[in-house]
């Protein structure tokens, strides 16, 4: 139960950052925090009380935790860093184009047309 609350708190704080912050880099940091929370939530759903890691050992005969969420999360972490890098590259491009990464200024420039060449 405590693991659920901790993981969901991370997701919630990530959502809070995405909802209220205007800086694009800060928004991506919030998404990465929420990503960690989702991974923790999935792993704790697969936990079995008194279970061992899903790796066979000689002479060890105990119940194992669920290996399926672990395989899922393993790929999700790698995908997460790749998409984070792609989003950060887009943010660097926004900085090069508009000179700022504050979302409201970027939107104003796109609407008003007083940016460099937007």
């Amino acid at each position: 139960m405590m693991f659920y609350i901790a993981a969901l708190s991370l997701i919630g704080i990530g959502l809070y950052v995405v909802l209220t912050k205007k800086n694009l880099v800060k928004v991506l940091i919030g998404i990465s925090i929420a990503d960690s929370g989702v991974n923790l939530l999935l792993i704790s759903v697969g936990y079995l009380k008194g279970g061992t890691a899903p790796i066979l050992e000689k002479g060890l005969n105990k119940p194992m935790v669920d290996p399926v969420p672990q395989a899922l999360v393993l790929t999700a972490i790698v995908i997460g860093v790749a998409t984070l890098a792609l989003a950060m590259a887009v943010v660097i491009d926004v900085k090069r184009h508009f000179g700022t990464v504050e979302l409201d200024k970027v939107i104003k420039m796109m609407r008003g047309g007083d940016g460099s060449d937007a």
Binding site: F3, A6, V25, S32, I33, N39, Y47, L74, L84, A85
Partner: protein
């Protein structure tokens, strides 16, 4: 409550406090460092939850590569968040 359980609860509380600080601080560099620390604590919790494979991946990627990518982006876009 055993000692390990107590330590796990302390780690979880630390993690949530770090996340709140990372959300509220104006300095993007410290926000990035706190998010890397959150990844490290999450990987410790993975070890407690009997997921060593995922713990290795999270420690190597979340605390090193992802943090490095955020830091390179901050270096190029400025480190103080305007109000």
């Amino acid at each position: 409550m055993t000692v390990v359980n107590f330590l796990i609860y302390v780690l979880m509380g630390l993690m949530v406090v770090m996340a709140i600080i990372a959300a509220e601080t104006k300095n993007l560099l410290s926000a990035a460092i706190f998010s890397g620390f959150i990844s490290l604590v999450v990987s410790m919790l993975f070890v407690y939850l009997q997921a060593p494979d995922v713990a290795m991946a999270e420690a190597a990627i979340g605390a090193a590569l992802s943090l490095a990518i955020i830091l390179f982006a901050i270096k190029r876009t400025g480190e103080v968040e305007e109000k």
